[in-house]
Structures are given as structure tokens and as C-alpha cells.
Amino acid sequence: MTTRPLPGPAGSPHLTPQLARRLAVLGAVVLAALAVLLLRLWFLQVIGGAEFERQATDNRIRTVSVEAPRGVITDRNGKELVRNRAGENVVIRPQELPAAHRARVVAMLARALKTTPAAIEEKIDEAGQNSLQSVVIAEDVGPLEQAFVEERHRQLPGVGLEATYVREYPEKVGGVAVAGLLLGYTQQIPAEEAAAYRRKGYRLDEHVGIEGIEKRYEDYLRGTAGQFRYEVDATGEQTARGVISARPPRPGHSIRLSIDLATQRTLEDQLRERVALSGLSKAAAGVAIDPQTGQVLALASYPSYDPDAFARRQEKRIAAFWRDPRQPFFNRAIQGRYPPASTFKPITSVAALETGKLRPDELVASPGSIKLYGQPWKNFGGVDLGLLTVRQALMFSADTFFDEVATRFYEDYKARGRDLLQDWARRFGYGRPTGIDIPGEDAGVLPTPQWKRETFKDNPDPVSRIWLPGDTIQMAIGQKDLQVTPLQVAVAYAAIANGGRVVTPTIVNQVEQPDGTAVLTPWRGHAARSVGVSERTLGVVRDGLYMVANNYDGTAVGVFQTLPDDVKAAGKTGTAENSGADHSWFVGYAPYYKPRIVIAIVVENGGQGANAAAPAVCRVMGAYLRFDGASCGGGAKAN
């Protein structure tokens, strides 16, 4: 056994110089180690503190965006044309999906959602691996998929359901949403517009209006998404501190159209029916406006795509719409160009009466056929109508009467270089857009000598560039080069009906906050422009239009003569020549003494105006003026 040595009085006798040195080294090492720790601590806490604080905040604060319902669109009386239905999206929050589980989770989801893992991965990559925002993997999934995600949420970290809204169309005609073409549809932001929408603060998986009202009023219809910020713990569960800030979603503004649901429904129904009845026709269009205000009461083009197919993501139907040679995305009522045919004769009449080329009671011969400037012209069926006043000429739609009147304009052009007929057509709104508040409107074509020079300047035949007498004559009866849209025709007739004011048609009555307060009233913004036509002239033309519908010899008397007295109508037929079968036109307004609705309808390749278009116009009038469509006759006498 060793002996415990007795210690010395000061310090240890065992503190050799070597031990002292080595102890100093140990002390230096310990000091250095503690200094390193302090420096590192200073670096992390004092220098890096703010950045780590931000990271800690990212750690514990979840921001969840809550979709706001898009505004609803109603007819003039508040009946909903498009609204929202609640749905559920399957989403992935990439930050909460551990990398180790990603492949398995994506594969599981792909099987359940009937898509490919690659498609899901692509969506995650687009948003970014560490995105705090959720990424929509599947929109508006069915109950089976919802149950799948909910029941397996333990196996599917980072996967969840998020409430969404889906467009819904309660009103249908023939299986297609009423006014679908007007409303337009919504879809995820198209790639080519991504940058623009991102600047406006959109998430790229949001739905935006692609066509029609949905597009034109996107800024109003879009709601303001709500945002919830809440604190979570490491497992992603909400902590006791809970919601930190909550901004509830604000629904978008609702839009009240000027459209009258019953009138719109009847118009769409009639277009479909007339096309079906005609045999040759494949398409038709029509528009009804309030002649006093310009408010569009109905506007339709047949055939039309169904926006519900987009809402329900029916890819096959959507593809069929795009393939359809009848172009269901083409809005013929504002984009279709047609020769106005005889519907232009009232404009010719106004021009002749106002410029003194014709007196109201002047008798002009309307022979079965006539040779003018060496060219033969004839009445429909070669009928000699004898001497006619302008009223009677309108009633009979007497071509040779207006051919003769046209020569007077041509002589004026030759003598003084004036285009009086075109001037008046322009005053009624032809040759330029009406200014309706939906995109895509066509201006039509109003031919003038200058137009002809420019249009045919590359044609080797110099004669093609010269304004010929035949050009004026064709124009006076609305054939050949003059091209108009149904909307332009309705606006022009509204001016005849309302005392000479050219209104700007509007489709939106007002934009309303969810509580009903109007924030925008587009239709009030437009002062009507005066044509500058005398009441006397208008009276003469109106007489002629009344006789068309009510006189024994009128071209459309068979359709309108039986209407009740308080809704007597006036109007004009038209049969537009084109490369195929004639287009059938009718433009009319009612009640005659206090016009409330003007309707223009064209049935492509529908034959004579009185046959296809006039009965449709009568029934649409009935829908708006509340008389029985059965009061309308079906047939017609002549063009």
C-alpha cells in the first residue's frame, strides 16, 4: 500500500515545471474553446438575430389563403344566370411534404386522382419545392377523392383539401347555359397571360374570365381572397395561441345585366328552332334592345358553346366546341357580317327624303324589271307594282322603286362628288362599332368610292376600283358590299323608333357590391347621339314599317297582323343574297306607338326574311311584352 504523501505548505510540491507548462497549454485550449463558443454565439445572435427571427417566424406561422367567391351575374331582374357552387380542391403544401415521403405520396395521389406522378411533380415544381402556398393538384374533386384524402391524411403528409368555388349555371336552354356566349367562361390563368395577372396579384392557379362578361368585368367579379395566419407547432398542428390574424374573404361584385331572362331564353329558343326548321340553315343570331336606353334585352348567337362544360371540365365537350365548323365561340350578333338587304331600305328612304331626292308623296314607278345604266334590275318575282309612294315601296319592299331612287344619289355623286347615301348610313351607325360593352365587336363595312379605290387597289382591272352606278343601286337595297352586324341593325332601327337618337347599346346595367349598392352603372354613361333627322321623315318611314307588319300587302303581315292592339309591331324583312342560300332578316319594334323593344334577327341561309326571321322576332316580342307567341303567324307573302 502506498502512502499518501504529505502536502507542502504552498502550492503542490508536485507542480513541476513541465506540469506548469502543460497546465498552461490546457488552460489556453480551454480558454480558446470558450472564446470560440462566445464568438459563434455573438455571430448567431447579435449579427444574425434578425434573419433567424424571420426563419423562426416562417417556421411557426402558417398563412392560408381562403378563396373568395366570384361575383354572380344576374339578369335585369336579379335572376341568377351564373353563380357559385362549393367544391373541394386537392392541394399539396410542398413545405410540409418531407422529401423522403414525396415519391410515395405523389404516387398514391396520382392513382387516386387518375393522373400521372409526373403531372403532379410538374405542378409542385412550378410552385417551388419550398413554397409556403398550397399547390392545387386537382380541382373540384368528387366525394370519392375527397374521402380518399381525408381518410389517409396520416399517410399523405402535406396533402389536404381546400374549399373552392365552381361556376354554376342555373338557367339552361337546350342543354346549354342561357346567355352562355355573353357570360363567357372562366379558366385557370392561361400561360401567355401569366405575367400580366401575376403583376395584378393573382395566384397562377386562380380562375379568371376568359370571354364575355367574365373577362370584361374580371376586376369587379374577382373577390378578395381571405387570409388566415395562425401559429403551428413542429407537427403542423395549430397551437393554443391559434389564429394570429384573420381577414375573411370578400366576395366579388355581382353584375346585373340588362338582359331579360325570359326574352333571352325565347330568343335562344327561337334561333335554335328556326335553324332546325329551315333545313339549309346552320346558324342564326339576334339581338333585342330597348330603343329608348340602348339596354340590351337579349343577345344570342346560335350555336353557342356551353360555359358549364368549362366549369365541369368536360374536356371532350370543350374539344368538340373548338372543332365545330359552325364556330360556337363566334358571337354572330356582334361579330357576324351580313348584307342588310331590304332592312336597309328605311335608311335609303330617310336619306332620300332628307336630302330632297324624294318627296314623301312622290310617286315613282316600280316596274317588274328596269334597265338602268345599261344593266337590268327587277322586282322580286318580276311583279310590276305600278306607281308607289315611299311608304308603299317599303311595305312591298319594292326593289325597282329604290333602284330608281339610287340613280338620283349616283347622279349627285357624279355631279358633285357627294356620298349622301353613305353619309346617312353612317349617321345611323353603320360602318363603325356601336360601342357595346363586351369585347370583339365588328364594325361592318360601309362601301364608298374611296373605300372601293383602296380595297381594290391591287386588282389589275382598273374598272374594279371605280364607283359604278350599280354600286349605289346595290347599296340602296342593302346588297353586295354593304356589311352590317345584327347589333348595328338593331341600333339603327332603335333610332327610327325613338325619334332619331343613336343609342350606345349596353349589356351591363350595374355593377353591385355584395350588399346591392351600385358601384358602376355603365349604361347611364352614354349620351345618345342625334341622327339629325326630321320628325316628318321619320313619320313617313315608320308608316312604311307599320304597313309591312299590318297592311294587307305588307311583306310580314302574315306574322304580325294578329297581334293585340296595344302591342302592334312595325318592322322590315330582308333577304340577303350571298354565295349560298339567302340569309333571312327581320328587324322590328313594338309597341308601335311607344316602342319598348327593337329586335333584329338573321337566320343564315334561312331564305326569305318573312319566313324564318320574322316569326322569331314576333315571339321574342311576345316574351318581353307579355303576349302569347301564338298570336304570331308563321308565314309570309314576299320578301
Binding site: 503542490s12 480551454v30 462566445l38 401559429e231
Partner: protein
């Protein structure tokens, strides 16, 4: 030769107590008690929501450990522990025996078998082995003082350390095995082993690490557990692991950084309270301190450890025997190594090795072990002071 069983002769209990108190290193006692109390309160603040319905579970257990530890510290200070340095082989045998018992009846957590069940508590012999090893090595050197510098003694000490270290390593508990190594190095160094021996050992360690981490795995032999390799590789940046080891260290750095200069307070420590910080009452308790009390609190804690280590090194210089000097040196190295590796891990400059922070981390065995070590230091101080 006469054998003195007591440095001072005779006297009643009162007199012995008076001697005990006058001989205490009050600075060391105060520093350790302040750190321990701070650790107790930090554990309390960090664990109030960890077990629903039992906010004081970890606190009350910590309190028991601390009181028990202080009792053992006093015993170690008062009892003639120097006798143990005279029986190094007996202590060594007891240590190996206790470690062997773990393998037979041991409980395990997170894939490693480390403790023996003792009633409501679990006891880890490997933790107590740290203090025991200081006594064993110091005793062996003192016994063979004339042989210091010989290869034989150096190899003997390495071997004596290696056996328990390997047993601990395969439990597996890499951290504690490394602490054994630190104690060995410090005692060899202070005993006056030539630099050439130390350099050779360093070379062997580097070679062994390369073998274990790179060469053997390439040959299909896995020495370290996958999680251990992962931790080391994550730390060195060889693999970029967003989960597990990399996640822990990242969250720890965020917690430390978020504390800033003055800290977020116990209520505002979201990294801790929302469980983003893993093991916040054990291995990562320093990050809790840093998050709650900022640079002021965390830096102050480091300075407090500095004070403890300073007192320990003073004893190396002044102890009354070579054995006491080396025991003190071993304990300083053991504490310094644990403090540096643990805090270094929470601030991202050391890999995750699972070494607790002395006097702070929750856990019975290492609390007792570290407080007993402090008791040994106090005893050494007493023996010196009472001359």
C-alpha cells in the same frame, strides 16, 4: 511507513464539519449551484407543455436528481475518495462489471442500450464511468510515477480506457466514449507523457476515423450506426439532409439566433415551445437558454462554465498529491469537453454526438456523475486547504 487514514487526527463530528466547511471552495460550489439552478429552471420553462396534463414532470424529476446529486457531491467532498485512486483495478473492475450488467438487463431507447432500471429511475453506469475513469487513470499514473514516459505505461492507460470505451461505444453511445477519450488524453498530457506518444495517438485516431467512416463502409463493414454516420456527414456538409440530423441542427441554430442579444423570454421562445427544437430539455438545452435569454444569458452561462473550469485547473496546480492533480485534470477535461461539444453542437460548429450539457441537461445519471466529479474536486481542494 505509516499510513494516514485521515489528514487530520481526532475531533468530533462538529469539528469535522467545521473543517469541511472551511475547506470548501465556495466559488466552485457557488458556480455549480448557480448553473444547476439555472438548468433546473430552464428545464421547467422548456417542458411545461411536453407532457399534456403534467407540466412539472421533468421539473420535479430534475429537482430530485439535483438534490440527490448535491448530496452525493457533499459525500464525495467529505469522504476519503483519494483511497479509490489507490485501488484503480478494483474501480476498473466495478466499472466493467456495471457496464456488463447493462448488456444483460439493460433498457434501451432510440436504438441504444445504456441503462439499468432502478425503481422509478434509470441508471447509466457509463455516465458514472466518466468520474471513475479519472480516478482509475490518476491512480495508475501515481502508482507508476517512475514509469511515466515509458511506452508500457502509456499503452496500459490506453488499454485501460479503451476497454470500457469500446463497451460504451457499442451500446452505442459514441458521445460518452469520446468523453472517455478526452479524459485519457488530458491525464496522459498532464502526467508528462512525451509529445511523441501524444502525436502517435493522434495519428492513430485520425487513421481509425478514416477507417471507420470511409474505408470499412466501402468494404461493406459498418462500424458506426447509420444515424451516427448521418450526423457526422451532415455536419461536415457531405450530405445535405433536410430531415433528422440536419433538421435538428438547423432548428437549433434558428432557436439560438432568434434569441438575439436579450432573448425572447420563456413565453416568446417559439422554437422551444412549439417543438421545432428537438430534445430541448436534454441535448439542446443550451439552444433553449440562448432563445429565451439571448446573448446575455447564453454568454453568461459560458462564462460560468469558464469559472468552474478555472477553479478546476487551479486545483491541478495546487493539489496535495499527484493523484489529486491528475484527478482534477481529468475532471476539468471531462467537463470542458462536454461543454464545448454540446454547446458547439447547438450553435452548429460541432457534429451531433448526444453529449449532454453538464449541470444543465435533464437526466439523472449525468447529473449525478458530474456533481460527484465536482465533489471530488471539492475533496481535493479540502485536502489541499486543510494543511
Amino acid at each position: 511507513m505509516t499510513t494516514l487514514t485521515r489528514p487530520l487526527g481526532g475531533g468530533g463530528i462538529a469539528e469535522r464539519l467545521r473543517h469541511a466547511l472551511t475547506g470548501l471552495d465556495w466559488i466552485l460550489v457557488a458556480a455549480v449551484l448557480v448553473i444547476s439552478t439555472f438548468g433546473l429552471l430552464t428545464v421547467r420553462a422548456a417542458t411545461r407543455t411536453d407532457i399534456p396534463g403534467r407540466p412539472d414532470y421533468y421539473f420535479s424529476r430534475s429537482l430530485v436528481f439535483l438534490l440527490l446529486g448535491v448530496g452525493l457531491m457533499v459525500l464525495a467532498a467529505v469522504l476519503p475518495t483519494w483511497r479509490l485512486t489507490q485501488l484503480p483495478w478494483a474501480v476498473w473492475g466495478a466499472l466493467l462489471g456495471a457496464l456488463a450488467v447493462v448488456f444483460v438487463v439493460g433498457g434501451s431507447a432510440k436504438g441504444s442500450t445504456r441503462w439499468i432500471e432502478l425503481g422509478a429511475f434509470r441508471f447509466q453506469p457509463s455516465e458514472l464511468g466518466k468520474a471513475a475513469l479519472c480516478l482509475i487513470l490518476a491512480g495508475l499514473v501515481a502508482e507508476r510515477a517512475k514509469e511515466v514516459g515509458s511506452r508500457r505505461l502509456t499503452l496500459l492507460l490506453v488499454g485501460v480506457t479503451a476497454l470500457p470505451a469500446i463497451v460504451v461505444f457499442v451500446q452505442p453511445d459514441l458521445g460518452t466514449a469520446l468523453v472517455y477519450g478526452a479524459i485519457l488524453l488530458a491525464i496522459l498530457f498532464l502526467a508528462g507523457v512525451p509529445w511523441t506518444h501524444l502525436a502517435t495517438m493522434l495519428a492513430v485516431i485520425v487513421a481509425a476515423s478514416t477507417l471507420v467512416l470511409a474505408v470499412l463502409p466501402a468494404a461493406g463493414i459498418e462500424v458506426l450506426k447509420p444515424y451516427q454516420v448521418n450526423r457526422l456527414l451532415t455536419f461536415t456538409g457531405t450530405v445535405d439532409d433536410p430531415g433528422d440530423a440536419g433538421y435538428q441542427q438547423n432548428q437549433s441554430e434558428i432557436a439560438v439566433g432568434q434569441g438575439g442579444a436579450l432573448g425572447k423570454g420563456p413565453g416568446g421562445a417559439t422554437q422551444t415551445n412549439n417543438d421545432f427544437l428537438p430534445e430541448h430539455h436534454t441535448d439542446f438545452i443550451f439552444a433553449v437558454v440562448a432563445e429565451m435569454f439571448g446573448f446575455v444569458g447564453a454568454g453568461g452561462l459560458i462564462l460560468a462554465y469558464g469559472l468552474v473550469l478555472w477553479r478546476g485547473m487551479g486545483l491541478v496546480a495546487r493539489a496535495s498529491s499527484q493523484a489529486d492533480q491528475l484527478v482534477a485534470g481529468g475532471i476539468v477535461a471531462m467537463l470542458a469537453f462536454q461543454v464545448f461539444v454540446n454547446i458547439g453542437m447547438t450553435v452548429g460548429i460541432m457534429p451531433i454526438t448526444g453529449i449532454p450539457l453538464p449541470f444543465m441537461s435533464y437526466g439523472g445519471s449525468h447529473t449525478l456523475s458530474n456533481l460527484i466529479a465536482v465533489g471530488l474536486l471539492l475533496g481535493i481542494h479540502r485536502r489541499r486547504a486543510t494543511i
